[in-house]
Every structure is written in structure tokens, then in C-alpha cells.
């Protein structure tokens, strides 16, 4: 009986080791970025300190099909977020080239959605965005090109910690960052990448894989 006990014990340990080794390969802990609050709560007479990270706040924009896109649309999804405009002569085409790489790489991944906000909503109407998306040959369900109220878009960029502003001196009339943001299923920012640098996007795609296997805790 003793021998049997040890044998099963050792094999159970082996299985455990194996599981551990496997999960180690995929689990990459990514930090939550952005402002946070430290909150003290009394639970059952004991002091519990929690760190509360900011969630991306609710929003309403319109995509290339004129459909309303809100935080509900992306519920339980991992999102790649950027800010651009269709007539941008400088970094935007490169950003779209890299975004297309992500789009192609995660072709069979329904839980990943790309959100491109136009910072030139006056010119980038729903029709214009529709034409743009068509020329990139992408599906609306996986890549939303969004327009909407100008002030809301700019304050949303700020909320995402992305620089964007009207600037008559800049080529095309707007100055903005080429950053891509990785937002997890809980609407929290988990990574910021350089949208014109293929190497940074390689890293982002690795991180997307890690984030996709995380579970949503959002209620």
C-alpha cells in the first residue's frame, strides 16, 4: 500500500509539474496602465486595501456602417485602439499597414476588435470611413472606423492617454500620436505600442495572445 501511495504521489507531482510548465509558457503578466485609486474597505471588521484601476469610460461613436458603437459593443472583447484621419499624409498609412497585420494575424479570433477613431470627424463622415474601410478590404465586425462628436473624440483620446490635436502647422492639419493601445476584456489599458514600428507591433501581437486567454471579471 505504501509503495502504491508513493507511486501515485510521484505521478501526481509529475502531472502538476507538467501543468505548471505548460501554463508558464503562455502566462505573461501585463501590468494595468493608467491612473488608479487606493481604497480602504472594512470587511467583516478587518481593513482591506484595494487598488482600483481606471476603466475606459462609456462612449458613443458611429462606425463605417453608421452603427452606434459603445462600450457595450466591446463587452468581453480585447481591443486595439488608435487615432488617425483618412486624409493624413504622414504616419497614418503606416499605422494602417501595421493595423492590417494585426487584423490578418487574428483573422479567426472573434474576441479581438480593432477601434480606429477619426480625429477629423468633419471630413471623415460615415460615408468616407465606409469607402476607406472598403479600400482596405476589411470587415466591419472586426474593425470599426469611428467618427462622432468632435469634442468627445478628443476627450476620449486624452482619456486613452493619446495625444491628438488640431494643428494648422502639421501636415494634413492635425497632430497626433501613432500609438496603438491594448485594452483588455475589463476595459483596462494593458499596453501602449508604436503603431509605425513593425517590431513594436510584433511585441503587441504577443501581448494580445496573452490578454486573449485572460477571463473577463467585468459584471
Amino acid at each position: 500500500m505504501g509503495r502504491r501511495f508513493w507511486r501515485s504521489g510521484i505521478s501526481a507531482f509529475g502531472v502538476l509539474l507538467f501543468i505548471q510548465a505548460c501554463s508558464n509558457q503562455t502566462a505573461k503578466e501585463l501590468p494595468v496602465l493608467g491612473p488608479y485609486k487606493v481604497v480602504d474597505n472594512i470587511v467583516d471588521g478587518r481593513l482591506i486595501t484595494d487598488t482600483l484601476f481606471t476603466q475606459i469610460r462609456p462612449f458613443i461613436f458611429y462606425d463605417q456602417d453608421g452603427e452606434e458603437i459603445t462600450e457595450k459593443t466591446i463587452e468581453g472583447k480585447v481591443c486595439v485602439v488608435d487615432f488617425f484621419f483618412t486624409s493624413c499624409p504622414t504616419i497614418c498609412p503606416k499605422m494602417k499597414q501595421q493595423m492590417l497585420r494585426i487584423y490578418d494575424e487574428f483573422e479567426n479570433e472573434p474576441d479581438l476588435v480593432l477601434l480606429s477613431h477619426s480625429i477629423d470627424p468633419k471630413r471623415d463622415s460615415v460615408e468616407r470611413l465606409h469607402e476607406f474601410a472598403q479600400k482596405l478590404n476589411v470587415e466591419v465586425s472586426r474593425w470599426h472606423f469611428m467618427t462622432g462628436d468632435r469634442d468627445s473624440i478628443y476627450s476620449m483620446a486624452k482619456h486613452y492617454m493619446i495625444a491628438a490635436q488640431k494643428d494648422d502647422e502639421a501636415p494634413g492639419g492635425f497632430a497626433h500620436s501613432g500609438a496603438f493601445l491594448l485594452v483588455d476584456k475589463n476595459r483596462q489599458i494593458r499596453g501602449i505600442y508604436d503603431g509605425v514600428d513593425p517590431e513594436s507591433i510584433d511585441l503587441m501581437m504577443d501581448d494580445i495572445r496573452s490578454i486573449l486567454i485572460e477571463k473577463s471579471v467585468l459584471k
Binding site: 504616419i91 498609412p93 503606416k94 494602417k96 499597414q97 492590417l100 472598403q134 479600400k135 482596405l136
Partner: protein
Amino acid sequence: MKFIASFGLLLITITACDYKPKNQGKSLYLKHCQSCHMENGQGLGQLFPPVSNADYVNIHSDELACIIRYGLEGEITVNGVTYNEAMSGNRQLSDIEIANLTYYILKELNDIEKPYSIAEIRLQLDRCK
């Protein structure tokens, strides 16, 4: 010591002046064209046409200089695909820079054997003023 220093300086000067139309053409391409037409001239979707291995470049090779300087508007067909986004011009480029850029696009990106001389480019540019 002095000899070594001057030799070194000479070496640096020689390598720094690695001046060939192809080299200037390439750096001009990377600076002014690649953000839309992409690093190898492959273009992007139906937004930006390819400029490498592109039939349009072959057919309209004598209009390239003008397109680079003054831009292009309206529908065009490149390798069987239609494009209709406006391209803005690059008026800050000199005749010689345009000649070198044209050389790079024709020779390096499209394998066209006899690119234009600067005199020919000037004639082409005069026609589209």
C-alpha cells in the same frame, strides 16, 4: 600621427560622399514617398497604388517627374486595380532631386534599364509647369 589622422579624415570624406543617384533617390523615396506607397513600393490596399513592378509606372514613365512635383488627382488603374485618392505634390524638391528619385523608382523598383538624364527630366518638368 598626423598622417594617420589625415588618412582617417580622407576615408571618412570618401565614405560620406558616397554619392550616387540611386542612393539619394532611395533616401528621398524613404523621406517623401514610403509613408503612403510603403517601404518597398508595394502600396496599401486600394488606397495607395504600388510604385514597384507597376504597369502604370512603365506606361507613364515620362510623367513621373511631373507627378512627383505636382501630385495627381482622379481615377487611375494600376496593375488592373483602380485607385482614386489624391496625391499631393512635392514642390520643395529640386530638379536634380526629382531626377534621382525618378531614377530610383524606375531602375530599382521597376527594373527599367534606361532611366532619364537630368536634362530629359528638366524637359519633362517644363512641359507640365
